[in-house]
Symmetry: C2
Subunit: 141 residues, 2 copies
DNA sequence: CATTATAACTTGCATAAAACAAGTTAATTT
DNA sequence: AAATTAACTTGTTTTATGCAAGTTATAATG
């Protein structure tokens, strides 16, 4: 992950996905963007899982290099940047939803989780539209 | 990953999935089982990405502890074991398919890849049935 | 039946990546 | 002008990975 040669340089579609977004921390950043609408460094930093700052910086660079996210100055605050999903990144929403569906089948559910699952099952297109429109699906956990 | 306390012990459905199967090597092992029908240690070892033997052993234990795969003696050869997907593991097939769909949209395609993608789009249920029946979807790459 | 081979690991060690703590820079608020 | 905030970077320790070699149990071979 440090050098930017692909770890698994196979010609496999699955390995390509894994190498591009499948790292644990990368994917949690993407979750925070898609589900919670996070877009700033500081927001990612205080995720529930407590990512280290150097690891976060590296992952953001990686995702940007891979064309999954893009970085732009915040016009309202020039010391801040806004990260957002590219089309390539937005296309990952179905993967996220399938992971949530899988976990839902194998983890104990509470009301909050049930609500999310229900919406995935009954309003998948609405969720995908919300993600594309940068609208948060969930409030902070 | 070495100690078996969850890395991201959050109460998030996504983090649960990531912690359970989302490690790079774990998921490639699952790919080999689902797509290529692999079921033996030696088969996983000579995957295209060249997993190290100690890492493979650890990942197989992890997946077994998580209830994703199960291990049984090979009745035909008592020095061999057969690994197979549990129901919990088989349920991951939709995640695999979505990753393949994503990569297909963002990676150059060849005939082999196009064939697989086409089958995913037109015969999803057939693929899922094949995976459940331990029938390989693809021949070795 | 003694030797060799095979399958599935384990162990030890060097290297790479992650976690932790502290420091830096540029913009902003007080 | 001083303190604060956002977004990092740097240095160090801890943990995980990669590689080579060794082990154990079963099976095939001369």
């Amino acid at each position: 992950m440090k050098n930017e040669t692909k770890k698994h340089d196979s010609n496999c579609l699955v390995a390509y996905g894994i190498d591009t977004f499948g790292d644990r921390w990368s994917f949690l950043v993407l979750r925070d963007m898609m589900l919670y609408g996070k877009c700033r460094y500081g927001e990612f930093l205080c995720c529930e899982e407590q990512i280290a700052t150097n690891v976060l910086a590296q992952r953001l660079k990686h995702l940007e290099r891979e064309g999954i996210i893009s970085k732009a100055r915040d016009p309202e605050n020039r010391r801040s940047y806004i990260y957002s999903l590219t089309d390539k990144g937005l296309d990952l929403a179905p993967v996220l939803l399938e992971i949530i569906r899988w976990s839902s089948r194998h983890l104990e559910m509470n009301a909050r989780r049930r609500r999310l699952l229900k919406r995935i099952e009954t309003d998948r297109d609405g969720i995908l539209a919300d993600i594309r429109a940068h609208r948060a699906i969930l409030t902070a956990p």
